[in-house]
């Protein structure tokens, strides 16, 4: 019972002055960016393919959809919650959209599915080719899941972990049941372009022939990039520059005090969970388009680890009250870079997941360390 004696166990430790710059670096908004750059530079000599244009473009294209989903998670964590159901929302919305807008259905694959003949047949979905209706349906489905999550957390005061765990299980099971775990192919070209279509491409080779081989042209600016960047800017503005955003932070910092101060706490919580599910839905658009299929298991497995890991590494606190969009942008960069380098090292997926798990643990420890540092400096 040493606690008996300590009013402040983390009292400031005025040891060596060398601690101060380290502390400042740890608390800086840019910490993870510097960490990523350092990591990149250190590994560059060992992994020559790391710096090639093809790999860099690949890195970016992996980052965009993850960023979109992690932005939603950032909001949920800022109110002190967690959203485990984002992956399930991705699977559900991917399936729903594909079932509605596919231009053809394969009876040998889908005829056993409960939606066969109802939503989709041999001539495609009921909204075959009407991309915008499909996207609207996805957003509605996603928002509904978020609404249920948020309502349960806000009004019944259930823990977010429990609520979204239940959503994760039921929603993903529902999505798998819809197609009996089959993928739905034949998505319209316009939809596929959202994930793959390029707007600006670059070519780094010599200009000695008029024909450039396709694989040497790299997509630099894609629809996915534009969607992700626009969403990040919009959500940054929402969190930092609006009354709603300040209330999100306040609810995470002290729910009770926020309620007494007149913050519409429940409304904020519901909206944040809806926002999180909507972000997952936009992520689902990008992932489904890249895959050129609707897949009920799209957000399963370790995807959740990637989202939560990237958000926490960025610096958003698991304890609530502290979150920034820019942090998550850097966190996603770091995480994508980490996955990429592990792949380049020819490690098996098992090894990769083990390393990722370790890195996320380190990030969570870092969060604890930051919180303590902040308090001790105060």
């Amino acid at each position: 019972m040493t606690a008996m004696l300590s009013p402040a166990p983390t009292a400031p430790a005025p040891r060596r002055p060398a601690r101060r710059p380290l502390a400042r670096a740890l608390l800086s908004d840019w910490f993870v960016l510097w960490l990523s750059l350092a990591y990149f530079v250190v590994l560059l000599p060992f992994l020559p393919t790391l710096g090639t244009p093809a790999n860099l473009v690949n890195l970016l294209s992996n980052a965009w959809p993850l960023l979109v989903v992690a932005l939603g998670q950032t909001f949920v964590m800022t109110i002190g919650g967690i959203d485990l159901s984002q992956g399930a929302v991705i699977g559900l919305t991917s399936t729903v959209a594909a079932a509605l807008i596919a231009t053809a259905g394969a009876p040998e694959v889908l005829s056993k599915a409960p939606i066969w003949g109802l939503l989709i047949g041999e001539t495609g979905g009921v909204l075959a080719g009407r991309i915008w209706f499909g996207i609207l349906a996805m957003l509605i489905a996603g928002a509904l899941v978020g609404l249920v999550n948020g309502a349960l957390v806000a009004w019944l005061e259930m823990p977010p972990f429990m609520v979204t765990l239940v959503s994760l299980i039921t929603v993903s099971a529902f999505a798998i049941w819809l197609t009996q775990s089959e993928n739905i192919r034949n998505l319209p070209d316009g939809f596929v372009a959202l994930g793959k279509g390029e707007i600006v491409s670059v070519y780094f080779g010599p200009k000695d022939t008029s024909q450039i081989p396709r694989r040497q042209v790299h997509d630099l600016v894609t629809y996915a990039a534009i969607i992700a960047v626009a969403l990040a800017v919009a959500l940054h503005w929402l969190l930092e520059r609006t009354a709603f955003g300040r209330q999100v932070t306040a609810v995470g910092a002290n729910r009770k005090a926020s309620e007494i101060a007149g913050v519409p706490v429940r409304r904020v919580i519901v909206l944040v969970f809806v926002l999180s599910a909507l972000c997952a839905t936009v992520g689902s658009i990008l992932y489904s388009a890249r895959l050129e299929a609707g897949r009920p298991t799209l957000g399963e497995g370790t995807f959740l680890l990637d989202v939560i890991g990237a958000t926490v590494i960025g610096g958003t606190s698991l304890f609530g009250g502290k979150g920034k969009v820019i942090w998550t942008v850097f966190g996603v960069m770091f995480f994508v870079l980490l996955s990429n380098t592990l792949n380049l090292m020819n490690l098996s997926t098992f090894h990769i997941d083990m390393v990722k798990g370790g890195v996320i643990l380190a990030a969570a420890l870092l969060d604890v360390a930051r919180t303590r540092l902040l308090r001790s400096m105060a």
């Binding site: 009013p7 005025p14 306040a250 910092a253 002290n254 009770k256 007149g262």
Partner: protein
């Protein structure tokens, strides 16, 4: 005779800034020493040095004449020093007996050594409790005890460890009148047994009552020391703040108007309050006095919409108050709750974020929030409530002293232009200087026409500040006193009347 504990030129620098300097003092054995000083005077640093939490940078300590340099909390405990803090270090899910023996359960003999000897534990716990005249069964879990009883359990733990020096840090902040009395008896019992007590408190009357000697700290220095007979309360205050505080309570600068702001009519919530009625007028400071559990804080929570009322109504400027806190804030209520850490502040957020939260929706500009206006308003608020802070945008509220934190909680409501302020224990844990400033703020708010409902368990405070005092007892309003009729004895009698006539059922 060798003193129990002696400080010789003790000092502590934080990054070159002295928190305690050149402090020499003897703590004689078997006495109660009151240690007083404003927040930031160095009391906590001194206690942390005794407790081995922080090492001194200058000087040394002697324990029974031997050099004493604790490397950690365990060393202090081994030497025989126990701390009792305002936030207790007890396990609320465990029983009283388990709490007493948590660091060394009695074991069963022989082969069953791995098991706890529950009977022995209960018996020994019962003996220790009996010494404190604390008649609670050792099997009760802590969460079923009142704050005062928990405090006594903490003392029981120190007794069981046979501590020679017991240090109390603001122990009465969450206790009722009766519990405080019981605590004082326990402390006097400790002294009678020859134990030494260091008693830290902002409540100077309590120090007067308990202490044999007083040590006064200011800016890290020992500025006064002597027997209690030499230190009456005015001298304590003078020594603490280094100047004459003409009056802790500044004179009221305005008189209440006739227009009612808040009219409470027959407000009832079964088992909590019963048929409560009173009126607060514009420019009036109305005190709500009562023992803990009399329904005073509960009334405030119901007015704020945090708890439901079954019958009755409250009107603010003629409009019935309805809905939750959000609706009522919009109607013009402001609520400074009794515990600012849990319900008032975002401790790790900046001062500015805290100051602008309640009115944040009023700062909408063209595209998002108008951040220049937010900064201006925060700056103005700093002046208005005389906040001592460096950087409003970066400094977290946690870094402020208790008094300044309380000023933030009050200041944050001003931009919502409230018509009625509810201040629940506005000066709890606040030092004398800041306390006086808070009273000044209250007076100015009243002068500007707001109504104030001040709840306090310190009658002095209400008598110094209020125009009228409403006394509650067992959930009912039992008396109302106008300022000219203020008389301590009568007000306290009113607060006790119901409780005594109904016996000690509560």
């Amino acid at each position: 005779m060798t003193p129990l504990l002696r400080f010789e030129g003790l000092g502590k620098d934080w990054f070159g800034v002295p928190a305690v300097r050149d402090l020499s003092l003897d703590i004689p054995e078997g006495q109660v020493i009151g240690v007083i000083g404003e927040n930031g005077a160095g009391k906590s640093t001194l206690m942390n040095m005794i407790g081995g939490i922080v090492p001194p940078t200058h000087g040394r300590m002697l324990w029974r004449g031997q050099p004493y340099a604790p490397q950690g909390a365990a060393d202090a405990k081994a030497a025989g020093i126990a701390f009792i803090h305002q936030e207790l270090n007890l396990f609320t899910n465990l029983s009283v007996a388990e709490n007493l023996f948590i660091d060394g359960f009695p074991r069963r003999p022989g082969l069953l050594r791995g098991l706890i000897d529950r009977r022995a534990m209960r018996d020994r716990a019962a003996r220790i409790l009996a010494r404190l005249a604390l008649d609670i069964p050792p099997d009760r879990t802590l969460d079923s005890l009142s704050p005062g009883e928990r405090q006594l359990v903490e003392i029981a733990r120190a007794l069981h460890r046979d501590a020679a020096l017991i240090i109390f840090d603001e122990p009465t902040t969450s206790l009722t009148h009766r519990e405080t009395e019981r605590l004082f008896q326990a402390i006097e019992g400790l002294r009678a047994e020859g134990r030494t007590v260091i008693y830290i408190s902002h409540i100077l009357q309590d120090v007067r009552r308990l202490a044999d000697r007083v040590a006064v700290l200011r800016d890290g220095r020992l500025v006064g020391e002597g027997t209690i007979a030499e230190f009456d309360i005015p001298r304590m205050i003078r020594t603490m703040i280094g100047r004459d505080l003409a009056a802790v309570y500044p004179p009221r600068t305005s008189v209440p108007r006739e227009v009612p702001v808040l009219e409470v009519q027959g407000l009832s919530a079964p088992g909590v309050i019963e048929n409560v009625s009173f009126t607060v007028r514009e420019g009036e400071i109305l005190g709500l006095f009562g023992l803990m559990g009399s329904g005073r804080s509960e009334t405030a929570r119901i007015l704020m919409g945090l708890d439901p009322a079954e019958r009755g109504e409250a009107r603010l400027r003629g409009q019935p108050l309805t809905g939750g806190p959000r609706d009522r804030v919009r109607q013009g209520l402001a609520f400074v709750t009794e515990n600012r850490r849990e319900e008032g502040l975002m401790m790790d957020a900046s001062i500015r974020d805290n100051l602008t939260l309640p009115a944040i929706e009023r700062f909408r500009g063209g595209l998002g929030l108008d951040r220049d206006r937010i900064a201006d308003v925060a700056q103005d608020l700093r002046e208005t409530v005389r906040l001592k802070a460096q950087d409003l945008g970066r400094q977290p509220v946690r870094a402020l002293s208790g008094g300044n934190q309380q000023k933030v909680v009050i200041g944050k409501w001003l931009p919502t232009e409230p018509r009625l302020f509810i201040l629940d224990e506005p000066t709890r844990g606040v030092d004398v200087g800041a306390r006086s400033e808070i009273y000044g703020i209250a007076d100015r708010l009243a002068a500007e026409g707001a109504g104030l409902l001040v709840i306090s368990s310190e009658l002095d405070e209400l008598m110094g500040l209020c125009d009228r005092i409403v006394v509650m007892s067992r959930g009912e309003v039992v008396a109302t006193f106008d300022r000219r009729d203020f008389e301590e004895r009568r007000i306290i009698a009113a607060a006790f009347r119901e409780a005594t006539s109904a016996g000690e059922a509560a």
